[in-house]
Symmetry: D3
Subunit: 243 residues, 6 copies
């Protein structure tokens, strides 16, 4: 078994921390930290919905994802200079949006949109999982504020949601891969689950070699363990969210 940084065991998350209110201008915001991975998640309200929802009575939640150029050890070119978002950014922001919409009652929101922005300021693996986990909190904070401003009658959240990465290195399943581990992984999986332990999203990829059913099972169990801990952390911020 590979030896992990900071004497981490195979089923250990890195230190996780959620700092609410990190950006004062947004309706809701957090700094989400997962080891050295740090993501600013903000949630902003907009008073309309995309064209396909007009007159539907339903609300919408959409997400965008970016990395500041200095967040990676080799500078990442700024996407606005390149004139377009990468395929990877597109894929991640679609994933974040789906994850959050899965636990929100969009009808109860009424016709308004919440824009989620996840900006990675330091990248050390599992940025998309950190983004999902942090965005839930930013969104919930924004919704809370929206109830005070009479933009919502109640917080329309049906369950918590968080995500964890897992992978196989040298045959061993590991929880919460950092950047170096990620680049060595034979198999790599992201799991999104709710507070009730149901799957929202499952994305497993064989980077190095295909994997079999028992490996799949082991990975899923590891991910569930990590997600439970992350949702535990979310619950400390919303002790009275009745979901």
């Amino acid at each position: 078994m590979i030896s992990r940084a900071n004497a981490r065991g195979p089923a250990d998350l890195r230190r996780a921390s959620i700092t609410p209110g990190f950006v004062k201008n947004a309706h809701g915001s957090v700094l989400m930290e997962l080891g050295d991975t740090r993501v600013i998640c903000t949630a902003c309200r907009e008073d309309r919905v995309p064209p396909f929802l007009r007159n539907s009575g339903k609300g919408w939640i959409t997400a965008e994802y970016g990395m500041i150029p200095g967040s990676t050890s080799t500078r990442t070119a700024r996407e606005s200079s390149l004139g377009r978002q990468s395929g990877r950014s597109h894929e991640i922001q679609r994933l974040i949006g789906r994850a959050l919409r899965s636990i929100v009652d969009l009808h109860a929101m009424g016709e308004q949109t919440i824009w989620i922005d996840c900006d990675v300021i330091q990248a050390d693996g599992s940025t998309r999982c950190a983004a999902i986990t942090g965005s839930f909190v930013a969104m919930a904070l924004a919704m809370k504020r929206m109830t005070f401003q009479n933009h919502l009658k109640a917080v329309p959240i049906k369950d918590f949601v968080a995500a964890a990465s897992v992978g196989i290195i040298a045959g061993d399943p590991l929880l919460d891969l950092d950047y170096q581990e990620d680049s060595m992984a034979e198999v790599d999986m992201n799991v999104v689950q709710t507070g009730r332990g149901k799957f929202v999203e499952l994305q497993g990829t064989a980077e190095g070699r295909p994997f079999d059913g028992s490996e799949l099972q082991a990975l899923i169990e590891l991910a569930e363990k990590g997600i439970k801990e992350l949702i535990g952390l979310q619950r400390t911020i919303f002790p009275d969210l009745s979901v």
Copy 2:
């Protein structure tokens, strides 16, 4: 249980057909049909690799995906007119590339690239699965030709690979969703597996409601059944591919 078109059972694939040599100019090509979903897959050789592989001795396989505007019941705007590919196209073409690379010995390819293009000419659900299944054949045909032209010593394929979609509608797991079923599905999953039954990719999404572990298990089994049949079809085209 919902009643499916053409009296299809929940574990039945639609009629699948692979027509090799559909486009004469490409090194390898097929028309892949899965019910009314029809995808042209072509494979073209290029005599160099992307910058990150130069002087590595390794080859590369990359994929692009598009839909002709008339392929959908409401016309899809042409991506070249819009000036960019959609997030969905990006996501699908990255998936196709990963799936094919997972069963090819890139070192044995040497420094050359195979470009896979999947152009959907009629869309009726499961286009990404049809694209993966058809692309394998287009790629293998191109590689065969490359051995005749001395661009390859042998076909560097380690295993077959194919993909199937599965989903849950009204609580029931179903194989190979068509467009109408896809839009009704509560859960939607794409599975990519090799001829030896190993996973290459697993992407499950809760569109309507989160799902639990036993549902996940049922979906995976259905997908495996479909993939076996599709690989059976691939084998009829390459009876002597010794993998």
Copy 3:
């Protein structure tokens, strides 16, 4: 005189074929084949017109043209990846739109648009002429369906329209150039004519050497012969189109 493939004479078209209904989702569609050139033409109805026609009572017909990357012997880069259509694509799609509008009574259409899409799936010269000839049929099929759906009172077509390419190679005028001939041609001309033998468009270019009036005359006569045959083929599909 150069010897042509398949013992073709200088005034012979290649085998031409029009397969209606090739794409089921579009309002009208064909597969147009001219020798090895194969173009999918689809026609889709949209319930509005561009801004410059609003409240004019007039309809509009617009066309887009593309080539799938594997359609050419050297792979053509995908225009959506490049982020823009080439000058050549722009030029061809403007030509197709003008040709079709010239034989339609736009006032009788009312304020709706027909989108024509021409997607070349195999390119062997004369793709723009094949696109015009096939698009006429796709458009007429769509209009027929629109009469059934009460989107049109009658098919507002005033005449047939088709196109043929001609060129001069080694001093000899030839009809319907294939790709290899096209690349050798000294002069290259595309002619669009109606069923009544009137010109809609005439585009002649001296690629290698300027040409004189008698050469122009010979080319036009050849093109007229080819167009008559193509319109004959269109008439077999619409025997009762009273134009």
Copy 4:
């Protein structure tokens, strides 16, 4: 017959004028005026050729076309702000390039490129014909200077080239359409010819109604008359160009 501005007859050009040396920084430049249409044409030398000509020993001539926003009676949006050139600009600049290349011995140029830029500063119809006619002079001036600088042994021009527009209004063929006439024309044709009276390009379009062979003949004769006069004007600037 419609009455034309300034008592112009149907076969009369507007006042044409070519001012050499209009822009001092370019290798060659003119202000080309055709009535109120005014185009700045510049020619700049670049010491290399596009990739497809490298190591071919051949030179290249390429053209770009634009309109300043204030050149039209309703302001034309700046193409650099829109982020792309219009289809019309693409089409025109391809035409200008082909016209100039047709009368130049590209082998005698050696591996260097001449960039032609045509910028319309006032538009009153026939801008593309003015651009071709003026560009010939700008290019020839640049080539002359290149002989002084030892970038060329001799001016590699094989013939003069110019262009004229013709059209049919109310059934009457007219030479050199101004903007108002152009918008009324039933048929519209641009002809490019050499000093020896050979065709380089012929582009006729039925805007309003298809046209027949005798109308085509009449239009071509009118265009030839206009082109002869424009080439006469070019000859006054290059009296000793031995072509």
Copy 5:
């Protein structure tokens, strides 16, 4: 002290000239010449304002700036071909817009926009100052015409405005830098002032070495001298503009 072209003293402007009505289609236009720098400035009226001013009762003035490719001694790539405006163009056009808005009563304009376009046809330094100085005249001419057409009750101009460049070369402050001087300058400053001698904009940059307060003072005085002369020239065109 460096010796300047044409025996110019350090505090001398180059020959300045403003030709009104240079482009007939625009509402107002001039050719602005400052030595060999020549800029076409046009002003076009549009019957609406940008979204942020709707229902505000205020008008707007916006500017765009471009250079024709042949205007510089080495050809400048066409921004529409590159697909975007350079940072330099953006910066200059924002400056022009601010300068003009500073001396116009936008409330008195009502909800309409004046588009200013500055197109450099020959560049020899100080193009942005020439653009501001010429644009004022083009705008004032357009506003005059707008009073005749009842789009304005009176010309809503509160003061003249013009601009001059100054710089330090070899320690000496110089007025109105030409291209060669500009490329040698250690310090480079653009000043925009009104007819009453107030500052509208001041942009000083140390290209080679930082500068101190007394140098700043000397540069400002030189610029004021030049601007006074340019406004004198503007006054000859609008002798009765009561500002």
Copy 6:
């Protein structure tokens, strides 16, 4: 005189703070805070220079600037989604680059580039001044590390550099405008100065009304006071930078 937040006097900076090493992956980084304005500045080394400096022996410093969408009270659209940087971003990043280059010995750098990235995570006015002041520190930190890695013999910095904003509100000159003040300012100026008190850049704009020479003088003196304090803060981080 307007009353400022937190009982600030007209010549008071907001609380300023520089946190070095804020992003661990970059060669140098800081979190720059000026009141509620917070900017992450990173500096990354690249082992080559832009084309115009190749074989010159000189190094280069270039900057990019962006705002995370949630940094402003109304969400700012993500520039990578829009497909381009705004004119404002372009202008600011050019300013940052010029400011830093003015105090670096580019020859002593040798042929390598330092990329500066300024990402605003919370915006409350004066973001460009905060970006310049913080970037100096990020750059100096990166250069220090480059001396350890033998990419530099010595830190090639000739002087400190920082920036402050000043403005006039209701006739009163104020130092360091916050967002609300900025939107009320009649005159707005950014000043960049070195540790020796020399000007690097001076950009004054009359937003509301032109200003005169004595107002200019007062603003400059205020800015100098603020810059001295900010450079004092920089000196605490580099007490032994011998400039």
